[in-house]
Symmetry: C2
Subunit: 356 residues, 2 copies
């Protein structure tokens, strides 16, 4: 039973503008500390799989940056999608690569841009998940909710899987709930957060893609035929764009009856926006998260990311985000952090693409 971590680094994330840009997406930013999130993610998995068994999937624009950040990653382990086609096609593409290398390969698909406070706990859960996956299940990591979060999807847990504790069946995938439902989930203890981390055998996931998305399976097999040949890049470029753009959750998981879940409590955060930074960085004693030089007078619970040598002074503000990216500055309340993408849209409307 061999685990192959496959790190999905295809996101273009606009929710961290002005730090994130088309050519510098969230996963390449050191949002949680001193290293880019992608590097943190690879390092976190190192005890589970050597770097030559670790794979990264990304787009062509970011391939160079990924290679630079991960110089020890073998060239063949960087899977470059010619166009973004959401996570179902990403998973499928990784599956045909790994199936060729190791017919019994167990893939641990993980987003490149999340944060985990206790990596050992995540690794233990992934190992449990791999044992479940070896038996033909698709195992997800279910994160124990610590608050009534409305920004995440949930997994409704079912009966235990015989002989595979702590794994259980998943009865249902639940979309982002409203606040009342989220509170009910938190109290009921039958729901876990869906963090988008899945463990499965390559052949199993391809069967499930076949069942739910037959045209995608056919496209993947056409690509698979040319794997390892000089024709591969051309075939990939021609065929991959025909894959339906759908998430693995919607396209496959929600329709599958082979889903299991391993509960875990690794201090996980999806780092969805600047508003989540206080979850992953230590705030000062009045709740301010500060990077660089800031002068915060009489203010609390702010997030201030200043540039070296250019201090930001804040007076009397609460729950405000201030980010200086060098060529653009953002100021917004924490509860509007999701709307940063609207700024990116507005910049495009104004013909300021170079800032997006």
């Amino acid at each position: 039973m061999t685990i192959y971590p496959v790190i999905m680094a295809g996101g273009s994330g606009t929710r961290f503008w002005p730090l994130s840009r088309r050519d510098r997406p969230k996963q390449l930013l050191p949002l949680a500390g001193s290293d880019p999130l992608l590097v943190d993610t690879v390092r976190r998995l190192a005890p589970l799989a050597r770097i030559d068994r670790t794979y990264v999937v990304c787009g062509p624009v970011h391939a160079g940056a990924v290679r630079k950040l991960l110089p020890r990653l073998p060239k063949a382990n960087l899977i470059v999608e010619p166009v973004p086609r959401n996570t179902a096609a990403c998973v499928g593409l990784a599956a045909i690569h790994l199936r060729r290398r190791d017919p019994g390969a167990i893939l641990a698909m993980l987003p490149a841009d999340h944060h985990v406070a206790h990596p050992a706990r995540l690794r233990a859960a992934l190992q449990s998940a791999a044992r479940v996956a070896a038996k033909g299940h698709i195992a997800t990591i279910g994160l124990r909710p610590t608050r009534a979060e409305t920004g995440y999807g949930y997994l409704q847990i079912g009966r235990p899987l015989a002989g595979m504790a702590p794994a259980r069946k998943v009865d249902r995938f639940v979309e982002k709930p409203d606040a009342r439902t989220a509170a009910r989930y938190l109290a009921g203890r039958r729901h876990l957060w869906n963090g988008g981390m899945f463990v499965f055998r390559a052949d199993v996931i391809l069967e499930e893609i076949e069942r739910s998305l037959p045209p995608m399976r056919r496209a993947l097999e056409r690509i698979a035929r040319d794997l390892g040949t000089t024709r591969y890049p051309k075939t990939l470029k021609r065929v991959f764009p025909s894959c339906q753009s759908i998430s693995i959750d919607h396209g496959v998981m929600e329709r599958s009856r082979r889903i299991a879940v391993v509960p875990a409590d690794p201090g996980w955060s999806d780092l969805g926006s600047f508003a989540t930074l206080p979850e992953v960085r230590r705030p000062d004693r009045v709740g301010n998260v500060i990077e660089g030089e800031a002068i915060v007078l009489d203010g609390r619970d702010n997030v201030v990311l200043a540039r070296k040598g250019r201090p930001v002074a804040l007076i009397g503000l609460r729950e405000v985000i201030v980010v200086d990216a060098g060529d653009a500055i953002l100021v917004c309340p924490r509860d509007r952090a999701q709307d940063v993408r609207k700024v990116v849209e507005e910049l495009k409307r104004r013909g300021r693409e170079e800032l997006t």
Copy 2:
């Protein structure tokens, strides 16, 4: 009767940090539009007095900048105070200079860093004031209140001055009132704002200084003895610092019985802080005052001063000030704009003098 405008440009104003600095005080900043406030002030008075009758008083640090901004100002018309000693000494120093040039000189002392929307109205008031001053009064310009402002001092107006309409006696100088008192003043129509603009004969103000501040008068006369000689700079440097540091309002005006007032309505603002910019710059239709490139989504009544090429994005904020000075950034609510000086103090405490 000859009017000599004397523009007091000695302020070091920290309330416009991060734009204002020790070597770039408020009066040298183009806060109201495209020109520095000092240049606006001189231009506003030009129809009243030629540039060779116009004087500027400033400190040694700013003399070079003032000369550059006002290349046509005669060298002798720039009076440089060796140390700042508040406005009473500034007025006295100007008075001994002007008395020597023209024993009947009428001085119009004006701050360099205020804004006037209707300069012709101010000039008319200054001319009325000069007629009153010629008779031996000290004439102030009293600004008709347009709101119950608690940030200004007030003048309580008394009986009309015979034959000198619209001038009246001043009964009392009133310190910054509380909100209730300010509302009463606004309703009662017997109080005007004290804008710190005074018109008087050189000999009259020196008599009043003699009456209220005898040691200052003696110091001034010691300096006056060496005026026009090579000894002047040395004497000034030795004697001027001995002058009491007190405002002309406190030190002289409030104790004088020769104060008259000419009411005026010139659209005056003292530009006391960033919060006052909407008074002097046209806000957009939702109340935002914007300089440079800004993206304001769903926000109103903000003041955003961005730098060329570095846009500031604001989401969902109201009455917030954002100023990018290139090497420092300020974010604060409009009602805390006065506290900007505390940031300057904090920077000094941190040994970051170069930013103050």
